[in-house]
């Protein structure tokens, strides 16, 4: 049931050069916006691992918004093109793990587009309000842990997904009871 009074949990991944600047510009212009979105700054939208998004959605976020530079205008030349390919695939993949694809969106906002950023945040927040709270997904969370396991990182605790902290060599690939082999997933993500 959509409840306009309660606050939703929304995470935004914004590239430092365009969208973070756009969000700053929106603030400087004092554009009134919904407050629910929490912004995580990344150097480039190409730094956003689709697994971050999946992880966030399965761990308690009601929506995730990724924003980068407009295609062809990337500070790193082509980072946002990689992002687009990865995130588009993620968007189509979400229903497979039982997440409404409306809970995730990727957009392009440049550093001068403060008003566009305001519109994006407002629209996305309204959409999440319409979708209501994210159902707690024990099954999906377990799937995620399996996927994490395939990455060779600790899957014991759902919120200890720290690849570089583990420092261990990759674990054996389980392969059998997985929904989607992680290697296939990576192939599709980065293949031409």
């Amino acid at each position: 049931m959509p409840d306009m009074d309660r606050d939703y949990r929304i995470i935004g991944f914004l590239c430092n050069w365009c969208s973070y600047g756009g969000a700053d510009a929106a603030g400087v212009a004092r554009f009134s916006q919904p407050t629910e979105l929490r912004i995580i700054r990344v150097p480039c939208s190409g730094r956003v691992d689709p697994m971050f998004v999946a992880k966030a959605l399965l761990s308690g976020a009601d929506g995730v918004l990724v924003s980068g530079c407009h295609p062809r205008d990337c500070h790193y030349t082509e980072g946002n093109l990689y992002a687009r390919r990865r995130l588009e695939l993620l968007r189509r993949f979400l229903p497979i793990i039982g997440v409404d694809e409306g809970r995730f969106e990727y957009v392009w906002v440049s550093a001068s587009e403060g008003s566009r950023w305001r519109d994006m945040v407002t629209k996305f927040t309204e959409k999440i309000h319409a979708l209501g709270p994210m159902p707690r997904m024990a099954e999906a969370a377990r799937t995620l842990c399996t996927l994490e396991g395939m990455l060779g990182v600790s899957s014991a605790q759902p919120d200890m997904w720290h690849a570089d902290a583990a420092g261990k060599p990759p674990a054996q690939r389980p392969g059998q009871n997985a929904l989607l082999s992680m290697d296939d997933y990576k192939e599709v993500m980065d293949g031409e």
Partner: protein
């Protein structure tokens, strides 16, 4: 780990809508936080002093400051942290001003959000590692794109400062818009007399390499070590032989070519030298109109040329130059007056643009300085100027003020009365914006000494009546309609970004606004820098600017470049990719994905391969981190652990709040 948190009030900027004390109190509960406080201005001298003092006294290993955007003051605070003996990367910022305080008035929700952002910053900081910058050699050369007055000024300043300058101009001659002007306001100086000597200086300066008729094709590399590909378009004339004698121009049979230097009010030849003061003063053939190229006939210029310089088979040439910094000075283009159909531009010959009028006023122009009606060549007795054509007009998507039209209109009105003493000059205006030094006085002189009639109001329509034009508009001060029979109508067309500006911005990896003007790094404090380190802006490519402002910004950009390249070595940003060799499986995906070629495969003794990051080449985008199938490559300061720590910090609190 021992973390200190400081929450900034920013005067009232943050404190008005965020309970900073509550945020600081909440932060005390976060893991590893041993100290938390709030401060009126964290960036002030006492604020930074407090940070330094607490680091020393409480032996902190890391600091979080919750204040403005890191794009604003991250560098400031990193320096403070470093002064207190910490590594400057043991610092995180929570943006509670632009992203919290300024976008909502809901104090309760803002405070909750600010607490969340501080929590995220603390969690990220717990995974921060000290990073050390590497230094690398720089090229003491600068690329300047565009050789209008801004590019010329920047080139001369940089060259005088001891840098080698590569100056690229897409037109045949340098000089830009200023070389087309007759006089400049408010002194009514001769434009080309002021600019000409500077153009000659550029042509003769031993440190300046000029590439006219050239465009930047590609820019790669990074600050200190850019590599630029320049396409030198073929002029079909060997410029090392051409002496600029002009014999070819006299004999060229194609005489109906639009003269772009004279804004199309007269024609020129297919082989041209655009104007007498051109630098370089060399002829070039326009292959789109030359008979030799369009019909395969002719060849007169080749026969006539005393220097044997004509070469119809000459091809474009692409050259590569290495530079340490770039200044974009691509200037402006003018609004297409045909888009405002009510004024009849393009339909009635006696409706012309201000720049066409300028060419008419110029002694070296096609009319030798005589004002003539294009329809019949007679001297006009009534000239009407219409201001704000394509400026401050949302209906044609030009909401911005073009900055200089008020002033050049006053100048042109004065010149009209000077050239034709028995003429009448009318100006339809919206507001007069005369904010520069001596500008307001100049407009006053036009009105009082030269008796130019200023009518405040918009023109509704221009229509022909006999061999005259009727200008119908409103006088909003009198509240009445006005109709003026005019012999000539001059449209004060506004400025637009230069044709192709967005494409160039994409090559330079800088941002541009909705109208194609390049974006500066900070509107107040970094007006000539861009967000790409080593790329600077000068002149009207950033926003419409008049000559003094363009020149000032050009010198400012040159100053920035000289300061940057005064060092023999620059420090590279250590926030770059790092390979965990023990995890790397040598698949080479990162090498293929890296946009900078910063990753190479290194062969181990057993013949297997491992990725390796070339530290000074890596720009820290992190694309490789996501590409790596085994997470063996991590972007320092933005590792998976750190970004997930931020996600987890939020999700954990959210889950806890729901469950409790």
């Amino acid at each position: 780990m021992r973390i200190g948190v400081m929450v900034c009030h920013c005067g009232n900027n943050i404190a008005a809508t965020v309970d900073c004390e509550a945020v600081a109190l909440a932060a005390r509960e976060f893991p590893d936080v041993v100290f938390s406080t709030d401060h009126m201005y964290a960036c002030s001298d006492p604020g930074q002093g407090t940070i330094e003092k607490t680091i020393r006294e409480l032996k902190l290993d890391g600091v979080v400051v919750a204040s403005c955007s890191p794009r604003m003051h991250e560098v400031t605070f990193r320096r403070a942290v470093e002064r207190a003996g910490l590594n400057r990367y043991m610092f995180e910022m929570a943006n509670i001003r632009e992203h919290v305080a300024w976008i909502s008035l809901d104090r309760k929700r803002n405070t909750e959000k600010a607490i969340d952002l501080v929590r995220m910053a603390v969690e990220k900081l717990r995974y921060d590692r000290p990073l050390t910058a590497k230094s690398f050699e720089v090229q003491k050369r600068v690329l300047i794109i565009g050789a209008g007055v801004a590019g010329i000024q920047a080139a001369l300043d940089c060259a005088e400062g001891g840098l080698d300058v590569i100056l690229v101009e897409r037109r045949q001659s340098i000089g830009g818009v200023m070389s087309k002007l007759d006089k400049t306001f408010p002194t009514v100086d001769c434009s080309v007399c002021v600019l000409g000597p500077k153009m000659v200086d550029v042509g003769q300066h031993p440190r300046i390499t000029l590439h006219a008729l050239s465009e930047v094709e590609e820019l790669s590399g990074y600050v200190g070590n850019f590599e630029v590909k320049i396409r030198k378009k073929s002029p079909f004339v060997d410029w090392t032989k051409c002496t600029g004698c002009g014999a070819c121009l006299e004999k060229c049979p194609s005489r109906k070519v639009r003269d772009s230097h004279n804004e199309g009010i007269c024609t020129t030849t297919a082989i041209t030298i655009p104007f007498p003061q051109a630098i370089p003063k060399r002829a070039a053939i326009d292959p789109t109109v030359c008979l030799r190229f369009t019909k395969g006939k002719c060849g007169v210029c080749q026969k006539i040329c005393p220097a044997d310089a004509i070469d119809y088979d000459m091809a474009d040439e692409v050259i590569t130059e290495k530079v340490g910094a770039v200044i974009a000075a691509t200037g402006l283009d003018l609004f297409d007056h045909k888009k405002c159909g009510e004024y009849g531009g393009g339909r009635y010959p006696d409706v012309i643009t201000s720049l066409q009028y300028e060419r008419m006023l110029s002694a070296s122009g096609p009319t030798a300085g005589h004002i003539k009606r294009p329809s019949n060549g007679e001297e006009p007795k009534t000239v009407v100027f219409i201001a704000c054509v394509g400026s401050r007009d949302r209906s044609v998507d030009r909401p911005y003020c073009s900055n200089f039209c008020c002033m050049y209109t006053a100048k042109q009105a004065i010149l009209t009365r000077d050239h034709i003493p028995d003429s009448r000059a009318y100006v339809f205006y919206m507001d007069i914006r005369a904010t520069g030094k001596g500008y307001e006085e100049f407009v006053r002189r036009a009105q009082e000494e030269y008796d130019v009639q200023y009518i405040r109001g918009r023109v509704a329509q221009v229509y022909p009546d006999g061999n005259q034009l009727v200008v119908r508009g409103a006088d909003t001060l009198l509240g009445s309609q006005v109709e003026i029979k005019a012999d000539l109508v001059v449209l004060a067309v506004g400025a637009e970004s230069a044709h192709g500006a967005p494409e160039l911005a994409e090559k330079l990896r800088i941002s541009y606004d909705a109208y194609g003007f390049f974006l500066e790094s900070h509107p107040k404090l970094r007006p000539v820098e861009t967000n790409t380190v080593g790329v600077f802006l000068a002149g009207a490519c950033q926003a419409p600017k008049d000559i003094p402002a363009s020149v000032a910004q050009a010198s400012a950009a040159a100053g920035k470049v000289l300061a940057l390249l005064s060092k023999d070595k620059l420090e590279s940003d250590p926030q770059i990719a790092q390979v965990q060799t023990i995890r790397c499986i040598g698949c080479g995906k990162c090498e293929r994905t890296c946009p900078f070629g910063a990753i190479r495969m290194r062969e181990l003794r057993d013949g297997s391969k491992r990725a390796e990051v070339v530290e000074t080449v890596c720009q820290g985008c992190g694309i490789c981190s996501v590409t790596c199938p085994v997470r063996a490559i991590q972007l320092a300061h933005f590792t998976d652990s750190q970004l997930l720590a931020e996600v987890n910090a939020l999700c954990r609190t959210w889950t806890e709040t729901t469950e409790s």
